[in-house]
């Protein structure tokens, strides 16, 4: 996936001379995960910028660059480091278009490696998506596969809206087929979910790092004679409810899976909306499989915190028991 993201950045830099990359350690080092490897060498330090160690002004300066006509792609090194920039994101990036009656565009992408499962120290494994999904003016995207990472990052950069782009860091090393010649304009539309695996008993909605886990759970369930339909949301703002509603109307059951805490989460929003729209089709309440309401635990405990195949199957059992 790292190579797919790198190729997407390269293609975007090639396509539009206004695209700039900015972040900590992204130029000389190529990023701590090497997502920007080689780009400074090929595009120069005017377009691939090693910023001072100050997240708020990485985003704040991107606002000014956007106002001057540039399309900044900012890397925040880890999920837990985004909070110093939170004010600039929710107060400025998200609102400037509407505050100027549409005169000022904010075509900014904020790349954010997110999620746990890599045995990292604290503040390096968080899932802050709900804060951004809650904020009008932002789009939030989370690819789950190398192919989607390649397409979705280019779509995010081409969008005139600001995009929080969540990269599932524990899937950075996943391998997968990527069509480098894919026509971005005709790829799956930005904002659309995808039914990754069809099934008839229970719909599983997930995104980012949890897609692979949910597909594994579906394999196990199939061996037990249960048919799970796995929907990869891909976009968290907006959420593609038409695709999700159509799936739930087929299966009558929904389990939502994410690493982020369940309280006031993407899963909570989905549960509320599905209850409103699918009430008469449902055989069971929506069940959430999520992180717990604790700060992310020390990494030797993270396997107990993160949803895994067993916890997903447990939720499926509970759903089927109604």
């Amino acid at each position: 996936m790292v190579a797919a993201l790198n190729a997407a950045l390269r293609a975007s830099l090639d396509r539009d001379s206004k695209v700039l990359l900015m972040g900590e350690d992204i130029a000389t080092l190529g990023g701590v995960f090497r997502v920007t490897d080689g780009l400074a060498k090929d595009f120069g330090e005017q377009r691939v910028i090693d910023a001072p160690l100050a997240e708020s002004t990485i985003i704040g300066a991107a606002v000014g660059l956007a106002m001057r006509g540039y399309r900044p792609v900012c890397e925040i090194q880890f999920d837990g480091f985004v909070f110093p920039a939170f004010d600039q994101i929710v107060t400025q990036v998200a609102k400037l278009r509407v505050r100027t009656d549409g005169q000022v565009a904010m075509p900014i992408v904020i790349r954010l490696p997110f999620g746990g499962g890599i045995g990292a120290v604290e503040h390096h494994s968080e899932s802050p998506e709900a804060y951004f999904v809650h904020t009008p003016g932002l789009r939030v995207m989370a690819p789950a596969t190398p192919a989607d990472a390649f397409v979705m990052l280019q779509q995010a950069i081409a969008s005139d809206d600001p995009v929080i782009f969540l990269e599932p860091k524990r899937r950075y090393w996943d391998r997968g087929e990527v069509d480098l010649n894919v026509d971005i304009a005709h790829a799956t539309l930005m904002g659309r979910a995808r039914v990754t695996r069809s099934g008839s008993d229970v719909t599983i909605a997930c995104y980012g790092p949890m897609l692979r886990t949910c597909l594994e759970a579906a394999e196990v369930a199939a061996e037990e004679g249960r048919s799970l339909e796995v929907v990869d949301l891909r976009s968290l703002s907006p959420i593609d409810f038409p695709t999700l509603v159509a799936s739930v109307e087929r299966t009558s059951r929904l389990v939502v899976v994410h690493e982020a805490q369940g309280m006031a989460s993407v899963g909570a929003e989905i549960a509320a909306v599905i209850a409103e729209r699918c009430f008469w089709s449902m055989e069971a309440p929506v069940i959430r499989v999520a992180g717990f309401h604790t700060p992310y635990p020390p990494n030797r405990l993270e396997q107990h915190y993160l949803p895994d195949v067993e916890r997903i199957l447990d939720a499926v059992d509970r759903s089927m028991a109604y």
Binding site: P52, V63, R68, D101, G102, D161, G191, D240
Partner: protein, 361 residues
């Protein structure tokens, strides 16, 4: 504490209206130029009175008075070129005036009919920034864009003494210095962040912080429009020529309240207004013009008539500012359609149709 006091700043016009020379900031001005600056100052002071009165009459929810700070802003504003770009806080009516933004345009925000008010690209001035210090990194980013475009424009960030305590302002200095960006930091030290005195923000003169970032800093009499003009002009020229970022600290005083909701008698030293009134930004220009024979009765009367006309336009225009169609709140939240916004808009449209405003209990 007297660290912020003293007159160790660039001054070209004394409070008594006497011209001073400064070796680094020579300024030749004609009578016409001084009259034009005085007109700006008078119009701003009248605007302030009128807007404050409109708030007292219930026509504005809030207003942020500029009184006392006219010279700092007019001097800086008139030093700018059209291609320069200003990022300001919410008290920079004088900068807006110099950027050609009509006073009435500023009323929309304070009357609550818009959260912005103008197209930034028409005036090369961003909309007011309410969150303290947030806009200072924006100016640096804009300046980084200027560098990549290869022009000699300058981005200016206007902020106050309170903002200097914000992390974003510190970060902005760091970025500007690191990238040698063409940005001018124009700090108006008006001595208060609402009620908290500048001594709480800094133990020594704020201009000294520039040295820590490795950029030049200049302290100027912010109540002297000629000094503000000359120093800003020189700084902009230096920056245009590739000199990198600079800081100007304009020492002034907020003679009014923080906003019309504020009560400065709870925190302002009892003799402060009296003291600063002797350093009034307008009075000294009038004295200079009288001394030089640049202002006759016709000029003063003409200015008075112009200010009266502006006041009338402002009063009538403000009262005519009506709330926009409620459904416009959904416009421009996103560039491209977003289903949540589309659904919410459709809901409110249906709801308003079913229960028109006024029929609800």
């Amino acid at each position: 504490m007297h660290t912020h006091g003293g007159d160790d700043f660039v001054q070209l016009l004394t409070p008594e209206g006497e011209r001073l020379d400064h070796p680094d900031y020579p300024l030749d001005v004609t009578g016409d130029e001084v009259r034009a600056l005085y007109r700006d100052l008078v119009m701003m002071r009248r605007f302030d009175l009128e807007a404050t009165a409109l708030q007292r009459h219930g026509e504005l929810g809030l207003f942020t008075p500029i009184v006392g700070q006219e010279a700092a802003q007019i001097g800086a504003g008139r030093a700018m070129r059209p291609g320069d770009f200003a990022y300001t806080s919410y008290r920079e009516h004088g900068i807006a005036w110099c950027r050609g933004i009509e006073p009435l345009t500023l009323m929309g925000l304070f009357r609550g009919v818009t959260n912005g008010g103008w197209n930034p690209y028409e005036h090369n001035m961003a909309i007011y920034s309410i969150v303290i210090g947030d806009h200072v990194p924006h100016a640096v980013g804009y300046a980084m864009g200027i560098q990549r475009d290869g022009t000699d424009d300058v981005a200016l960030a206007f902020f106050g003494d309170g903002a200097t305590s914000q992390g974003d302002v510190h970060e902005a200095f760091v970025f500007a210095a690191a990238f040698h960006s063409p940005v001018l930091f124009f700090l108006q030290n008006n001595h208060f962040a609402i009620s908290v005195p500048v001594e709480t923000q800094s133990r020594h003169q704020l201009v000294k912080r520039a040295d820590g970032y490795g950029i030049p800093g200049i302290r100027v009499d912010g109540n002297d429009v000629l000094a503000s003009l000359a120093v800003t002009r020189a700084a902009l020229q230096r920056i245009r020529e590739g000199g990198g970022p600079m800081l100007i600290e304009a020492v002034t005083y907020r003679m009014g309240s923080h906003t019309t909701s504020d009560d400065p008698t709870r925190y302002r030293p009892h003799d402060a207004l009296e003291h600063w009134a002797t350093r009034d930004p307008l009075e000294r220009v009038l004295r200079l013009m009288e001394r030089e024979g640049w202002a006759d009765g016709d000029f003063i009367a003409g200015l008075d008539a112009e200010a009266n006309a502006m006041g009338a336009t402002l009063r009538d225009g403000t009262r005519a500012l009506t709330p926009p169609d409620p459904l416009t709140m959904f416009d421009h939240v996103y560039a491209e359609p977003h289903q949540q916004v589309t659904d919410d808009r459709a809901f409110l449209a249906r709801y308003l149709q079913a229960a028109p405003s006024g029929d609800l209990t």
